[in-house]
């Protein structure tokens, strides 16, 4: 089972350089401009083939935007085909997982949540560094790390919700 990743260069679609670091404001502005030209709402009175074509284009832009604006998805997109995580990383992930499982009280849960959030931010900063220095194998490793941190953060949020209820 695998998600298919768009074959087109989504950076090119947005007229942006193929880089991890990007200006979020600029990305959003380009997104709005692209959708203003192809969103199905602009073609309601057109013929069916035109509507279908615009619809596909609009969907493609939404798919690309979803990847571009999310640092993890963006990194994964840039690193398709790069290696597997190192044993050190796997050990780190196992340790965090264990702490997460053991966090029982609300206080412990909040500490874990803050930990996950700050590690995520650090990880994104690392990614920016690795991509800008073209250290792609490091970037690939960091991306896997970010993926797990994101998953932890979601899990701990859910735990917090159920603990509050």
């Amino acid at each position: 089972m695998s998600s298919s990743i768009p074959v087109d260069d989504i950076f090119a679609l947005f007229g942006m350089k193929r880089e991890f670091s990007l200006d979020e404001k600029e990305l959003e502005k380009k997104y709005f401009d692209l959708q203003k030209n192809c969103h199905p709402d602009k073609f309601v009175t057109e013929s069916v083939p035109v509507k279908v074509a615009r619809h596909e284009e609009s969907a493609k832009i939404n798919t690309a935007y979803r990847i571009l604006r999310n640092p993890l998805a963006r990194a994964e997109y840039l690193l398709v085909g790069f290696g597997k995580p190192s044993p050190e990383l796997l050990t780190e992930i196992m340790e965090i997982q264990e702490k997460l499982v053991n966090a029982g009280t609300m206080e412990e849960i909040v500490i874990m949540q803050n930990f996950a959030e700050s590690e995520k931010e650090k990880s994104i900063a690392n990614l920016k560094k690795y991509f800008s220095t073209h250290n792609l194998s490091k970037a690939a490793e960091e991306t896997v790390r970010l993926k797990y941190l994101t998953k932890f953060s979601e899990e701990i949020k859910a735990r917090r919700k159920s603990a509050a209820a």
Binding site: M1, S2, S3, S4, F32, Q35, K36, H39, P40, D41, K42, V44, T45, H55, E56, S58, A59, K60, N62, T63, Y65, R66, K157, K161
Partner: protein, 548 residues
Amino acid sequence: MKLLDITEPGQHSIAIGIDLGTTNSLVAIAENGHARVIGGLLPSVVAYEKIGKISVGEEAKKNPLAIHSIKRRMGNAGEKIDVTGKKLTPVEISAEILKVLKKRAEKLLGYEIKKAVITVPAYFDDTARNATKDAARLAGLEVLRLINEPTAAALAYGLDKGAEGIYAIYDLGGGTFDISILKMENGVFQVLATAGDTMLGGDDFDREIAEYLGCDLYEARRKKENSSKEFEKLIAPYIDRTLQICADLIEDSGIQKNEIKGVVLVGGSTRIPLIKKRLKELFGDKILSDTDPDETVALGAAIQAENLIKGSENLLLDVTPLSLGLETMGGLAEKIIQRNTPIPFSASQEFTTYQDGQSLMKIHVVQGEREMVSECRSLAEFVLSGIPPMMAGTARIKVIFVIDADGILTVSATEETTAKAQTVTVKPSYGLSEDEIEKMLREFMENARADITERLLKESQVEAEIAIKTVNDALEKDGDLLAENESKAIESQIASLKKLMKKNDRDAIDFATAHLNKICAPFAEMRMNRAMASVLQGKNIDAIAKKL
């Protein structure tokens, strides 16, 4: 759809906006960016009278068998509902409301209207969206776009007040609750996240109050406005639930509460003072209720209808409210499209066979956030057949999900290793087929051609009959309330009405019926007072205390 295709003059390419609500519906129209409602609120009540006459709105409310809150059943569009003498689907019943709204607009504008933007709760699932579109087609309306109610409200509010920044739209109607977070910027209305509950609304408050007081829903609705401490206690759990949904959404969306510039209140139920009070506690002093909560949604729909027809600089970017996925091994739901994804959208996932020589694969499409398929909404199930014999794990089956701008899903599956791809496209299982819609439209047209004069006479006769029966029943139960001369007057009016009913003078019958109703009005009031008194007597204080 040929049947209703009447050529229209070019200059009349106009589309209406419709708020098809649980309790009330409303139609609006926009010209040059200025929207206005046509007529007042139309109660979303449909009654099937004895001889084929269908009444909608205030008129229908008088019929004890009338159907209320049909919108709550749109998610179960295949359901058959018993109405006088036949079984109808929620789609057919909703279509009656739309027909009346369409006619209202046509009467005002003087020409036929064929296009509309219709609003749906943001949290409506795929089935309910399809059902709404089907109902519109049945009413002779092409749906230009389904838009989400909070988004429509934001459009009306934003354009009206020139709002910029991040806003929350809190929409509590008769039957549904939605909360959306939107960013409005330079004419772009971008929905960031949305959540809600399609089974929570003012109707629930009315029911609680009615149960508590032992009165009917109408009475409960009137009393609700008073907002006494007791009623607040009754409805507080529902309000708490909406606030919990708001808090969760803010947390999930990653937006800080202080980034929200204002909370726009939409839906008649937001008039309840307790709601404003509780929202202030959550959001601070940013509650905006300076537009009519009953009208905002219809006005937004009308603005969007004009935008779509005439073109506009504004852009509406909405999201899908619920995750969409597939059933995988062990009854787990695998999400293909996450909730709050911008629409239109397409995504695909590859699957493989798990047995040697497997030639079939079941594809089960589900909607919802839960991990187990059994806890998600099942949208459709189909089988991809003709997979060529291969070793387990070698076939490549690509499943593609496409959501259109109305939030409606289409799924297709293809076996990709063979030159000849097998594709199955699925539409949700509850939607009506093209044939069914055609057949219903034909029947509708034929009914319309029936002899109108005869039907009107029969209607008058039936109405007279109902009036007489109602009065006789009342006399039997509470006749003792009347003085002798009063009951005599009523009885003689009944006798003369009975005589007229045998003749063919419709106007005379109508007049006599109206007169009977008029002279019985004081009697009805006396009966109401007696009923109220007995309700209050019947309740002892302990029972009331227990309920609190």
